[in-house]
Symmetry: C2
Subunit: 318 residues, 2 copies
């Protein structure tokens, strides 16, 4: 039996490449800008070229789902090629911010069959050599629920995520971006600041650093260009969250200096961490079954958004 590859991956770095490996070479083909990356993928048995027009025409002919896995700064050029060579394909992406991607897709007139996505998985490493077929196993994969989303594409993206071993949740692109500013981008900024403060203490401080410093600065080990590509496109949401955080830290600082106590921050932070742990436990125990949704049915986007706001998994019915 011949299996027709139904997923076309553009950019086979950590995320796109791991996606190919999770689905296997029979279901995927792709393109990569650098010959080195394409060569590594080819050597591993995958059909990856550096010829974008040909790859896109193949996707159009076979109605493959096109997954954009390039960093945000390279997005527009890739979308330009999609608009030229495969303007009607079903389209998704795995970029870490959703509003700016949706805007770029709309500017290229490609939003008719576009549904954004974001697998919440990664490492401090990048490129094909860092790929892992199990990268998405147990991870949450956000599949966007924006107005006028194409139901067929939504279902294909959700099944793609499930096939990679991920759990699916959903929200508008704007709500996604507000949430990831809080649980990802702010953490990057704080990790950089903590690492810097530690190193200013010289070799003595680094010699005394133990597990809390190691964990608290881990993501500062991520390549600076990648950190910027992840955080900076989410400027508006991140500035808002940074302002909140600066208020919290300023209040703790003032309280410590004036009254010798860090104030409510310690209790509030501990309560927040326990809420996170409880949410993890609930998910690990799968106490709540995924919310089934029939893409395209009346009110389906509202069902998705409500489920996401409650932190619940969703799954396409049938």
């Amino acid at each position: 039996m011949t299996v027709t590859a139904d997923v076309c991956v553009l950019g086979v770095g950590l995320i796109g490449g791991s996606l190919m490996r999770a689905l296997g070479p029979d279901r995927t083909f792709g393109w990569n800008r650098s010959a080195a990356g394409a060569g590594s993928a080819t050597a591993a048995g995958f059909d990856v070229t550096t010829d974008l027009p040909t790859t896109l025409r193949r996707a159009a002919e076979t109605d493959a789902l096109v997954v954009v896995g390039v960093p945000l700064p390279a997005l527009d050029a890739v979308l330009g090629a999609v608009a030229e060579h495969a303007p009607t394909v079903a389209l998704t992406d795995v970029i870490s911010v959703k509003g700016p991607v949706l805007d770029a897709v709309r500017r290229r007139g490609l939003d008719g069959r576009f549904v954004g996505g974001h697998p919440m998985a990664g490492t401090a490493h990048s490129g094909w050599d860092a790929t892992d077929p199990d990268l998405f196993r147990g991870a949450t994969w956000l599949v966007a629920a924006d107005d006028d989303a194409d139901p067929d594409t939504w279902g294909r993206v959700a099944r793609l995520a499930l096939d990679c071993g991920a759990r699916v949740t959903s929200a508008t692109s704007a709500d996604h971006d507000g949430a990831v500013a809080r649980i990802s981008h702010l953490g990057h900024v704080l990790a950089e600041a903590l690492a810097l403060a530690g190193s200013r203490g010289g070799d003595l401080a680094l010699a005394l650093a133990a597990g809390s410093f190691r964990d608290g600065t881990r993501v500062a080990g991520t390549a600076p260009d990648l950190v910027r590509a992840i955080c900076e496109p989410n400027r508006d949401a991140l500035v808002e969250v940074l302002d909140e955080c600066l208020v919290d830290l300023g209040a703790a600082r003032a309280s410590l200096a004036e009254r010798g106590t860090l104030g409510p921050l310690v209790d509030d932070g501990n309560r927040a961490r326990r809420a996170y742990e409880d949410a993890q436990t609930d998910r690990a125990g799968r106490e709540s079954r995924p919310v089934e949704v029939r893409p395209g049915e009346a009110g389906w986007l509202e069902v998705l958004r409500e489920a996401g706001a409650a932190g619940r998994e969703v799954t396409p019915a049938g």
Copy 2:
């Protein structure tokens, strides 16, 4: 052969209890305020009572090294008992801040045979049930090098740390406190702030939270009273470091809002994290042998301080 127990532990919580378990029941005896903790230790085969005067008189009679393992708020009461029942014992502590401990010891007139200590190890849990005989294995244990430190006590504390599997380094209490404000206490404050920011995003944010949020908020899982007991006594150093950090974060925020880039923080933080990783690698590879010191020899405290400032291990000669 009868072994005389040479270490008396006051307070058998996570640190004091782990120290007893690392050395074993033949070398240790101790006291605990709560009968529950003492009972757990006794059930595990250790000689731990709730009778502080008797325990201290035994320490004085056998010239045991007394290790104060109570939280800082309980320190002065314990030192009062030491001054009454065992005023001339060799004394150390395992409390996470050193200047305030030294001040309290001096106020009680107990500094003649006192040398402060701080094992850089811990978990988010506390009490005897959380103890681990391997807690200190590979950890750095600071043994203080303050003016007029008693050479004999210094050597005993350093050997105690080595016997627990730790690496020893040294610095003045003031330099220690400045360093731990950077690599421990600031990290606690930032972890609380990150956890709080995440939880303000509701269930969607917590569902999207992945490894970076888990690691960045880990120490926010520590009991609030313990976080305060660790951080707040180091007020002066922590306020100074918080101010530096607020400047760094404020600059990144302004740069992001005005120019769309987080600015130099990302490169500086990444460089700092790599410096930390290099320091860890050097230590793991033991590229530099410990600096040998003969406690009491002319200039020995300067040798200790120089080694500590260079992030090097030290060891008592002979």
